[in-house]
Chain length 185, copies 2
């Protein structure tokens, strides 16, 4: 099976009006994403933020659990948070994944607005194949990834569909569903 990497993107993303913005790092995103990633065997999660102070904040959230009180409080939490790496841009995430996997990852775009894109079933088969290249799945915060992120991707994954037209999942929920569909039993 392919090695899976995630990148949680805080820039470039769009706001509700489609304007390109930078979102703030949310401590709960880090926890939820780390726990879901650990559950589904993700190799590393890159938290992408261009602002040094925000990256510092993310590191302090992780260190609270890795070093201080949190460590003795919940070792399973530490195990999950150890998957997180804080980087400044998508290039750094790609480079880190390439370095970890020994091979350039295939970059996978995700969006709630994707009308076409490869199906979850096809992507799951692809990942399951012997010798499949590593994949780096891009997750947009805010109202989703900006066009610039999509241009960097090798493949776009179909949107998650529920039972109707409404599709407005949190990035935390979307990420867990994507991992379950691609790697769950």
């Amino acid at each position: 099976m392919a090695e899976i990497f995630l990148a949680l993107i805080h820039h470039p993303i769009v706001n509700r009006n489609g304007r390109v913005i930078t979102s703030a790092i949310t401590s709960l995103d880090l926890h939820d994403l780390a726990r879901s990633s650990r559950t589904y065997g993700v190799r590393a999660v890159y938290v992408v933020h261009p602002i040094p102070e925000q990256r510092e904040f993310a590191r302090s959230v992780i260190d609270h659990w890795r070093i201080g009180y949190g460590r003795s409080f919940d070792s399973r939490r530490v195990e999950a948070l150890n998957l997180l790496e804080i980087v400044e841009d998508l290039d750094a995430a790609v480079a880190a994944a390439e370095s970890a996997a020994g091979r350039r990852p295939e970059i996978v775009h995700t969006s709630a607005r994707e009308a076409q894109g490869i199906s979850f079933a096809a992507m799951r088969d692809r990942i399951a194949q012997e010798g499949a290249p590593p994949v780096l799945i891009l997750l947009g915060t805010g109202f989703g990834l900006a066009p610039a992120a999509r241009e960097r991707a090798d493949v776009a994954l179909e949107a998650i569909r529920g039972t109707g037209d409404y599709n407005h999942l949190s990035v935390r929920a979307a990420a867990s569903i994507i991992l379950d569909r691609l790697c769950g039993r």
Copy 2:
């Protein structure tokens, strides 16, 4: 298809040591669960808490989006939050679901530690059947539902499994995966 109801239980649940406790309501749980529920066609989400001040807090979170600034800021958010109902115990949740569906719901227990339980595939088939009874899915906060909640259930759902033994999803992630497995396309 059966009507689906969720109950987010803050008591009786257990802490890391298996002691029965009451957890605090988290505003992000409400948002995430509402959005996932709206996406997957859930009829209503009961937020169960025995303490009046906590129920009041939950209502204030919802009203912020339903009435004030939030309403104009994001109408999709309102649409999701309208699914939430704040109740004091499981009995009230069952009664509300029965009143909404016109029929007593089947109570479904969920746990990350469930070793047996009905499979997701079997539960999905059951729900999809013509004339299937409504189901009320119990979700535990903290370290999961207390034994007293399990005793109230008609059926237990198998645990979500990832790729290995680690299974420590947030209730937000677990709920979204459960809905996707039971109702997703």
